[in-house]
Every structure is written in structure tokens, then in C-alpha cells.
């Protein structure tokens, strides 16, 4: 029977008077079908929605296409001998209010669909002569079969308000002129794909910087991920060797460096590697160098330094994470390769590495993503520098640190938003490609 299916269409066509009524007065169906309290609550929500829309919502939506037109005015007041400011439109607030209104409307539409379906469902239950659950039973089910609703509502609201709404808001900024350039900080306008074209255009100043930063970001992420992974694995294997004495002690030495908060160690490293910092002093005292090594002012040296320091930060993590997994490698594999006369290097590349890659691909992808978004290491070590005159991005800036500089320091919000979107696109592509080609995705059977 087609009309037995619970959906909005059937509710509107085959629903009884009250079900149909709840298309306008939300909750009416529930009210008459025996769920009074729930019905009234839903109706109150609808009333609140209309109250919001009339007092603010429609206005917000109406302002959205123009993003405000009234400039802040300055009028000379003769009597008081001061400038008086007249309030103008603030496009940033208008955009935020507009985005929030859109979310409120989406929420009410969702509620409308749900309550309509539910009302039709109740109607059918009554027609079949079943008992309609009361309010008390509903509350009880929230702690039993529907426990997930109780547990997940608050976290989901948090994510919605502090992650999804801000993201949509930032994404919409990419299509505006919201920037310190040309003084569009208070009043700005929609700008279409202009900023995207600017970023992608290799001949322009911003575009040139973008491709430079992108190239270095990817080089950095590859080095940081794979060097850490392989060296950390080797360290774990060396410590776990049968003949290594004092395993716990060695492990402790390395773990100690992660136990200290990362931003502390990174700031210390930055100071130690300054031209008159401890490392240069030590090397000079030992007579190894005469001039200080320009760790942070020479682009190439700065890049190498950052990768090396990241090894210092990352190797203990990898060691900690892979130790358990390494011990799961079937011993037969090692014995077989020993019988075939393979040396340790060959065994590593033919057995250990493939096995680990197979098991830890998701972890590798996660750490690759983490490295592309690795703000702390770059920002605290080199601050993105050295920076050439006229550029906003330094030679060691990643897309994220550039994003930070563009938004927080330079207030080029629209460009920052474009960079953020580009980062997301790049990460999505990389994740999809590697994940689909990984053996753990293609073949979920065991290794071998």
C-alpha cells in the first residue's frame, strides 16, 4: 500500500484534517492525536520562529543581497565642536546575521518535515487501533532506545554553532570584497569569483605567492610525514631489538620530549637557533664555525632547519604509536625472509614497511593532513620568514600560516577565506586519491 508509507507527500494527501492542519500550525496533528505536550512544544517553537523572523529574520535576509549600503557618516557638530558619527551599515554583521537566519530557516523546515511525518504516523497508529505513546514514555525512551538523541544533541549543537556556521560564514566571505585592501573593512559587497581568479592567476602578485606557498606546503608535508614515519619506525625497531639493553630507559628519553608542551619546546628551539643563540654560541666555542649560521634568515637553511626540528618533534610520537603495531607483525614472515638469506635492510623494505603501510594507511593520511595544517611548528619556529619585500607570505609559510597572517594580521579576510577553501580542496583530493588507492581500502582482507 503506497499510502501507508510515512512521508510528507502522503501526509499532505492522505492525512486527516489535523495532520493537514499541522502543515500550517505545526504540532496540531500531535496535539489531536494524543501527544499534547509534544504538540504544544512544537507549536511554541513555530511561534518563536515567526517572532524571530518578523522582528529580525526578514530584515536580515533582505539585507543579504546588498550587504548594506549606508556608509558611516561624520557630521561636524558646531555647538559641541566635535565630529559626530552616524551609525552606518556593518556588512560583516549583516553577513553573519544573514547566514544565521538561513540556518534557522533550514532548522524550521527540518522540524516541519519531521512533525508532519510524525503526525501522519500517529494518525496511522490510531487507525490501526494501536496505543499512542504518552509524554512519559517518550521521556523514558530518551534514556533507552533513543539514548543517542540525549547524548548527542548537545555536542551536535556545539558543532553546529561553533564549527559549521563559522565555516559557512567564512566560505561566504571568499565571495566578497571584505578586506583591508581598498578599505572594505566596514562596508563591503559581493564580488563573485574575483578573489579565486586572483589566487589562481600565476602572473599576479597574490597568485605567484599562492603557487609558491602551495609547492612548499606539499614538499614540507611529504618530508615531514614520511621522514618522521620511517625514521620513527626504525628507532622503534632499534629500541625493540632483542639485544638492546635498557629499553625502558631509551624510550623514556625520547618520550620526555613529547611530554613537554610543544609550544614551549618550539619557542625554545627558535631562541636557541637565533644568530646569537645557544647553538651558534656552542659551535663557535667549539671552533667549528666563525660566522653564525643564518638558521632563520636564509630561505633554504630555514626550510631544512624546520624539517629537521620537526623530526625532533615527530619521531618520538611515531615511535610511541608504531611500537605496538610492529610487534603484531607475524614472526613467520621474518623467519621466512631470514631463511631466504635477506639482510636487515632488505627485510625492512620487503616485509616491515609494506606491512606497516598496509595497516597504518589511515594513520598516514591523518598525519599528512595534520602536517599540511601544521600551524605550530612553522609559526613558532620561523614565523613563516624570511619574507621578501612586498609579499604577505614568507618563504617557509604554509597555506595555514599564510591564512593566519592574511586574516589576523593583514585583515585580508576574503583572500584568507579563499586560501582556506583551496586548502580544503587540495586535502580532499589528496585524501580521496590515497585512500582509494591504498591496499586497506581495495582489499579489506588480511595482509599477505
Amino acid at each position: 500500500m503506497k499510502e501507508d508509507r510515512i512521508n510528507v507527500r502522503n501526509a499532505l494527501i492522505h492525512g486527516d484534517l489535523y495532520t493537514k492542519l499541522s502543515a500550517v500550525f505545526m504540532g496540531a496533528g500531535m496535539l489531536w492525536h494524543g501527544q499534547r505536550i509534544k504538540g504544544i512544544l512544537v507549536f511554541i517553537l513555530e511561534a518563536a520562529f515567526w517572532f524571530y523572523m518578523i522582528t529580525a529574520g526578514f530584515l536580515n535576509l533582505g539585507m543579504l543581497p546588498s550587504l548594506g549600503t549606508q556608509e558611516q557618516g561624520k557630521v561636524w557638530n558646531e555647538a559641541k565642536q566635535i565630529y559626530e558619527y552616524t551609525a552606518g551599515d556593518n556588512s560583516q554583521q549583516i553577513l553573519l546575521a544573514g547566514v544565521i537566519t538561513c540556518f534557522v530557516i533550514a532548522a524550521i523546515v527540518m522540524l516541519w518535515i519531521l512533525q508532519l511525518r510524525h503526525s501522519y504516523h500517529l494518525q496511522k497508529q490510531i487507525e490501526r487501533g494501536e496505543k499512542v505513546p504518552g509524554f512519559k514514555q517518550d521521556i523514558k525512551s530518551l534514556f533507552d532506545g533513543n539514548l543517542h538523541i540525549t547524548l548527542m544533541t548537545l555536542p551536535c549543537i556545539g558543532i553546529l554553532i561553533f564549527n559549521i556556521v563559522p565555516l559557512v560564514y567564512m566560505i561566504s566571505m571568499a565571495f566578497t570584497t571584505y578586506s583591508k585592501e581598498n578599505d572594505h573593512l566596514i562596508l563591503f559587497d559581493w564580488d563573485g569569483l574575483h578573489q579565486f581568479l586572483r589566487v589562481l592567476n600565476m602572473n599576479g602578485n597574490i597568485g605567484r605567492q599562492f603557487w609558491h606557498v602551495l609547492a612548499w606546503t606539499i614538499v614540507w608535508a611529504i618530508f615531514a610525514t614520511f621522514l618522521n614515519y620511517i625514521l620513527g619506525m626504525i628507532l622503534a625497531m632499534v629500541i625493540n631489538r632483542k639485544d638492546t639493553k635498557g629499553k625502558a630507559f631509551w624510550r623514556f628519553c625520547f618520550v620526555l620530549s613529547i611530554a613537554v608542551p610543544q609550544f614551549v619546546t618550539l619557542m625554545i628551539m627558535n631562541i636557541m637557533l637565533q644568530p646569537s643563540g645557544a647553538v651558534n654560541v656552542l659551535l663557535k666555542n667549539l671552533g667549528l664555525i666563525k660566522e653564525s649560521i643564518p638558521f632563520w634568515t636564509n630561505a633554504t637553511i630555514a626550510r631544512i632547519t624546520i624539517i629537521v626540528i620537526n623530526l625532533w618533534v615527530g619521531i618520538p610520537y611515531t615511535m610511541l604509536q608504531v611500537t605496538g603495531i610492529l610487534q603484531n607483525i607475524p614472526a613467520e614472515l621474518y623467519e621466512a625472509s631470514k631463511m631466504d638469506g635477506a639482510g636487515p635492510v632488505r627485510t625492512f623494505f620487503r616485509i616491515t614497511l609494506p606491512y606497516m603501510l598496509f595497516v597504518t594507511t589511515p594513520y598516514l593520511i591523518a598525519s599528512f593532513v595534520g602536517n599540511i595544517n601544521n600551524f605550530n611548528v612553522i609559526y613558532l619556529l620561523s614565523g613563516g620568514g624570511p619574507t621578501y619585500v612586498g609579499d604577505t607570505a614568507g618563504q617557509t609559510d604554509l597555506l595555514v600560516t599564510w591564512l593566519y597572517k592574511l586574516t589576523i594580521e593583514q585583515q585580508y579576510y576574503n583572500l584568507g577565506a579563499v586560501i582556506g577553501i583551496m586548502t580544503f580542496v587540495i586535502l580532499t583530493i589528496i585524501t580521496l586519491i590515497t585512500y582509494r588507492n591504498s591496499s586497506s581500502y581495495k582489499n579489506e582482507e588480511a595482509f599477505m
Binding site: 560583516q92 554583521q93 553573519l96 534514556f143 533507552d144 539514548l147 543517542h148 548527542m152 548537545l154 555536542p155 556545539g158 558543532i159 554553532i161 561553533f162 564549527n163 559549521i164 556556521v165 563559522p166 565555516l167 560564514y169 567564512m170 632499534v238 639485544d243 639493553k245 631509551w250 623514556f252 628519553c253 625520547f254 618520550v255 620526555l256 620530549s257 611530554a259 613537554v260 608542551p261 610543544q262 609550544f263 614551549v264 619546546t265 619557542m267 625554545i268 631562541i271 637565533q274 646569537s276 654560541v281 666555542n285 610511541l320 604509536q321 605496538g324 603484531n328 597504518t360 593532513v369 595544517n373 600551524f375 609559526y379 595555514v400 593566519y404 579576510y413 582556506g420 580544503f424 580532499t428
Partner: protein, 291 residues
């Protein structure tokens, strides 16, 4: 005796390899421990300033710690410490509840929204974290949480709000707990809520400790969002911003050794917490990989 015999039986080549391995490990361990030793030594250094002509301090003193804990005029470290402590306690309580609820629901309950939620979490994870930062600031401003003492509430809200996305490790843990206990309890008439609070939670001590500790540590080490939200409100500073400020141009000469002292003071508890929970971290990791 037996060990002695075994050693003698090793071939000379193997012995050399072993020796080399241990020397290598010693060198590496030195590289890893040296910066930490250096900062501890610096915190006791008598002469001020960030840069000196010697690698090791010339004289030692406790004054850096005394100044850090008593000088309340320029950079009020005790106040920052209390700020961070309050924020850490509150956000730890809320985010532990969030993480455990979400990961329990995803691991044990089956509902329509489950797969979409997990996919959504993955997609949201691909956006750079700072993209949302500015917008979060504007939203907090609209809520009136960016001035004076309410900055603290703002920070707590921000540290907790999105923790529901970080469910992977604890979900991996819950997945490894056998479901047959739950099923038996439900046959005996227990509700899902009772299963969650009376059965699963007592079995999940390691992951609860892990979650509590990670969320307690987060406010101590975050300086970016705290910096954006506090701006110039120096009485709301957290420890991380304070330490960061000590290294800025205007303070570094006077405050560098105090920075070292502060770094040592907050690193000790965090290091102890971390060393204690690394076991759970490793277990959670291998659980997550298996699942």
C-alpha cells in the same frame, strides 16, 4: 651466570653491532634530552637576557622563580595560572562528557544519522582550524562573551564546543569492549542508559582517564585562540599567552629566564600527566588502527 655465558657465545661481529647501536642510541637520546636540560639550566641562570656568550650558565640562582611567582605588576603569572586552571577544569568536565557521549553513541547505538555524522566529522576535519577562528570570534562577540571576565566563559565554550568531532580514539576503545555483556544486561531489563553508566563506564577507566587528561591539557598549550580572544585584556591571559609574551621584544631581556622558569613549572605537571597516560594513548592508537 647464564647471562655471562650467553654474552661470551655472541660472535665478535654481533658484539660490535650491539656496541654501535648503543652508542647511536646514546647520541640520539642526548640530542633529544639536551634542549630540555638546557631550558632547566636556563631557568636557574643568574645573568639576564636571552643570549649569552656561554652555552652553560655562568652562575645559578632561584630568583627567576621568585620573580615569576611574586612580580604581579608587569606579567602576572599567578593570575594567569589561576585563569588557565579554572578554564581547564570547566572545559575538561564538559568536553569529557561530549567525547564519551558521542563515541559511545557511535560505537553502540545504531541510528540513521550515524554514518552521515562520521562522514561529516571527517570532512570538517579537512578544513584548516583557523578558518573558523575569526567567525567564532564574531559569534562570541554577538553573544557578548568577548569583554572582561566573560572572556573566560568564551574560551571554555570554544574549547568544548567542537570536541564532539574528536571521537575516534575513544570509539575505537568502546568497539573493543565485548557487546555480549550489554546484551545480557538488556535481557535482564536494563535500559540503555543503565548499560552506559553502570556497565560500559566502569569498564572504560583507561579511556576516561585519557579523555580527561587530554582535555585538561588543551587550554594550557593553546595560545592562538586565547590570543585572538583575549587581545589586550591582560588580566584574562592564560599561561600560554603569558609565556609567549615573555619572548616578545619588549619583555625578552628582563623576562627570558623567567620564561624558562615558567616553562619548567607548567611542563612538570603536564609531563607527569603525559607519562602516566601514554599507555592509554598507545592502547587507543592500536585499537583505532585495528577497528
Amino acid at each position: 651466570m647464564e647471562n655471562q655465558l650467553k654474552k661470551n657465545r655472541q660472535s665478535p661481529r654481533k658484539r660490535i653491532v650491539n656496541l654501535l647501536v648503543h652508542i647511536l642510541l646514546a647520541v640520539l637520546a642526548l640530542i633529544w634530552v639536551l634542549p630540555i636540560v638546557w631550558i632547566v639550566l636556563t631557568s636557574f641562570r643568574a645573568e639576564p637576557g636571552a643570549y649569552t656568550n656561554t652555552f652553560l650558565p655562568a652562575g645559578y640562582t632561584l630568583n627567576n622563580y621568585v620573580k615569576l611567582l611574586t612580580d604581579r605588576n608587569v606579567l602576572n603569572f599567578p593570575k594567569m595560572f589561576m585563569n588557565t586552571f579554572i578554564i581547564a577544569i570547566c572545559s575538561c568536565a564538559v568536553s569529557t562528557f561530549f567525547v564519551l557521549s558521542v563515541s559511545y553513541s557511535l560505537s553502540r547505538m545504531r541510528f540513521k544519522f550515524r554514518k552521515p555524522y562520521m562522514n561529516l566529522a571527517m570532512i570538517l576535519g579537512l578544513f584548516p582550524g583557523f578558518m573558523t577562528m575569526i567567525a567564532q570570534y564574531f559569534i562570541l562577540k554577538a553573544m557578548g562573551l568577548t569583554e572582561g571576565a566573560s572572556i573566560r566563559i568564551g574560551l571554555i565554550v570554544v574549547y568544548c564546543a567542537c570536541t564532539g568531532l574528536g571521537f575516534q580514539i575513544s570509539k575505537g576503545f568502546f568497539d573493543t569492549i565485548s557487546k555480549s555483556i550489554d546484551e545480557a544486561a538488556i535481557i535482564d531489563g536494563a535500559t540503555q542508559w543503565q548499560v552506559f553508566t553502570r556497565i560500559t563506564m566502569p569498564l572504560s577507566k583507561p579511556i576516561i582517564i585519557y579523555t580527561v587528561m587530554t582535555s585538561f591539557i588543551a587550554p594550557w598549550v593553546d595560545f592562538i585562540f586565547a590570543k585572538v580572544l583575549c587581545r589586550a585584556n591582560s588580566d584574562q591571559f592564560t599561561v600560554a599567552i603569558g609565556l609567549w609574551n615573555m619572548l616578545q621584544k619588549e619583555y625578552i631581556y628582563q623576562w627570558y629566564t623567567c620564561f624558562a622558569a615558567g616553562a619548567v613549572l607548567i611542563s612538570i605537571p603536564i609531563a607527569i600527566l603525559f607519562l602516566y597516560m601514554q599507555r592509554f594513548y598507545v592502547e587507543g592508537m592500536s585499537g583505532a588502527v585495528k577497528g
